[in-house]
Symmetry: C4
Subunit: 236 residues, 4 copies
Amino acid sequence: MTRRELREAAFEANRKLAGTGLVLGTFGNVSTADRALGEMAIKPSGVPYDTLEAAQMVVVSLDTGTVIDGSLRPSSDTPTHRELYRAFPAIGGVVHTHSEYATAFAQARLPIRCMGTTHADYFCVDVPVTRSMTRDEVETDYERNTGVVIVETIRACGHGGHDHDAVGAVLVANHGPFTWGADAIAAIERAQVLEYLARLEWRVRTLAPDAPRPDGFLVDKHFRRKHGPSAYYGQK
Amino acid sequence: MTRRELREAAFEANRKLAGTGLVLGTFGNVSTADRALGEMAIKPSGVPYDTLEAAQMVVVSLDTGTVIDGSLRPSSDTPTHRELYRAFPAIGGVVHTHSEYATAFAQARLPIRCMGTTHADYFCVDVPVTRSMTRDEVETDYERNTGVVIVETIRACGHGGHDHDAVGAVLVANHGPFTWGADAIAAIERAQVLEYLARLEWRVRTLAPDAPRPDGFLVDKHFRRKHGPSAYYGQK
Amino acid sequence: MTRRELREAAFEANRKLAGTGLVLGTFGNVSTADRALGEMAIKPSGVPYDTLEAAQMVVVSLDTGTVIDGSLRPSSDTPTHRELYRAFPAIGGVVHTHSEYATAFAQARLPIRCMGTTHADYFCVDVPVTRSMTRDEVETDYERNTGVVIVETIRACGHGGHDHDAVGAVLVANHGPFTWGADAIAAIERAQVLEYLARLEWRVRTLAPDAPRPDGFLVDKHFRRKHGPSAYYGQK
Amino acid sequence: MTRRELREAAFEANRKLAGTGLVLGTFGNVSTADRALGEMAIKPSGVPYDTLEAAQMVVVSLDTGTVIDGSLRPSSDTPTHRELYRAFPAIGGVVHTHSEYATAFAQARLPIRCMGTTHADYFCVDVPVTRSMTRDEVETDYERNTGVVIVETIRACGHGGHDHDAVGAVLVANHGPFTWGADAIAAIERAQVLEYLARLEWRVRTLAPDAPRPDGFLVDKHFRRKHGPSAYYGQK
């Protein structure tokens, strides 16, 4: 991928994110990374989605975090994205939204529990909430430290080398959701499904807070229908 | 009906389902069956609704379950649909969605109770939830066994030869709703009304969980206004 | 007004009602009456809103309830509308919907309480729920008796000759809302506001079921800003 | 700014408000003020948004409250707006809506608590509810007194000369929200964000009413990212 293609991909992804209805005003952002280039491209800070242009995407070094190309400031969340790219080399796209239901769970500091097969089709664990950040973490390098607590939360799920794929999304406490994937489009799809699952889980909790969880073998069945060597959902 | 017409009918029904807003991404599917042909046509697995073409619909034998016509894999839920067609010869269409409110009830393992006349206009009983499936049922022939528990749930309502019409919809535990009807269009209409009723019932449960049920004679009156020999709703 | 104008007015009102989003499928109906003609015009039964034509509106005698003009069956709710027109001579339009939040209150058998100034701008009392209908009332002349219990509920509010205007809407228990007004357009506006108020009241009840009511003098102030001789809202 | 430009700005702001979906029917209004002119322009009372014209905007003296220019009655809420302009000279726009979630909090008499970073990006305190108005305040000069209790509520937050900016929005008890800003567009943006925050807070309260609040240093960090001398969100 050339740097121009990287910027185009980030632009297309941000346009797609705006079309999902998951973002309001200038909230949220999506980035995409190319490992061969060692670069990521991200939305400029505070620019409304409807006036975005591909040339405004800001290219940042994955290694140093400095702006390589672009005349605007990158999203203030750039160090958070970069921390995720550095921790998990298989990730090619990161999305942050303030989508309404997932953010409500982040504010309530409640995980989005796996209560059904739709959840298991995408995420094989509950979507976790990070711990609160310390005063030091907030006052110095806040956005990088946001990435640090996300990575810490993913690793705590204990899925080893594949945990970023098994987890797929984290709710930052009192803030909102981050998702990732092999590319930016996959990360956006996860952000959409996460919001759908948050809507379901909110209704389940208000209807029957003590409803039994699905059996583990049902969850495994659905996750493996779509992921890994024995997947049989979709076309070959 | 020719096989080509069967495929066209399935295609039109899937397009119509997509237009209802009951499905997200590639979730959900609708099939249609022709008893003279002994065949059903269904959506291919994992194909987005907006790129569907009639020629992609997959034709499957009702008798053997094998693909008769089509180059794509059929929906992974095909054996569930087929089990319903085999149990109830009067059914000509089956719909599966992950519609948001009905799926929340499936995840909460709560029936959608008949709390008013709109419910009684379409369904004369509570919309039931299946039992949990066993490990064996999930690990071997999962999709066919999903149909088995749906049929078991319908029969348990005790409406005899007409129970599939009296029940009309079932929530598969921790999964989501299935509906059926004389044809695919009728099954889609039931899926839409079911979702509407789930929205109402969610609000009733959060407002007044102990609200009294409507009298049986009121429920009967509304069901019989629209169904059976004494119906007088609509045009002759 | 000529009979043709009456039919046109009913047609326009039904089209307008469809545009409000308060009706799903063939649910709901609006009628309009002309006192000089002694006739009302109403939607035909079970006809979808998007295929309605003015010539399909059915004209019914207010005095006898028989169809005077039209080749289709009138809405099955026609006797309910007629009962309201006969009880309150100042009414020129009646609307029935299954709008989602007002119907949830009807199913929960809870009034929509006056909890704020928006309610008081339109209705000076809580929107009441009817009593349950008896077996006899349901099994014989059901639709007319639905009107009878609505009228009974309005009169019980004790506003004398003007009670139909002070009340403005009633929830039929386990069924749904009816509204009325000087003409069909005013009745539709009330149906829209009623649904808005039901959404608010649902949230108030889930947030703070014991929240204090607004003071009576605040409710009176708002009702009188828009109604009666001292009104000063809007243009002269 | 000329008076014609003031009227144009008020017209554009009212059109923009209608496009946000925060107003229903003729509810709500936005005004804009010019301090050099000593005038404000506001929506005429009871006129639907879709028929508004710039020439219908009513110009009112900030000093005396009398109509300076315009043939229609100004919004009945004009004295409330004027009271805010008089108390806080830095305000250039005021918005009043009956937006559904913020109004539900006003009716429940509950503040919209600061439970996350999205709230802190816009408002550094809980959005407060006014006290109830007295009988005298309602019966004499009701609309002006509505402004008086809003100002009283803002001042009680104790942010000194900048409290109108720190607070940014108030819920009038049993009525609805008012927002303000440097100009009408900023006030509309706050009204939109307020409604978004009310939706989140409603879900948080139904999910976890006792969820811990975000740490003060996290709230400060976010407010200061967007406001004041150390802001670094957006472009320079």
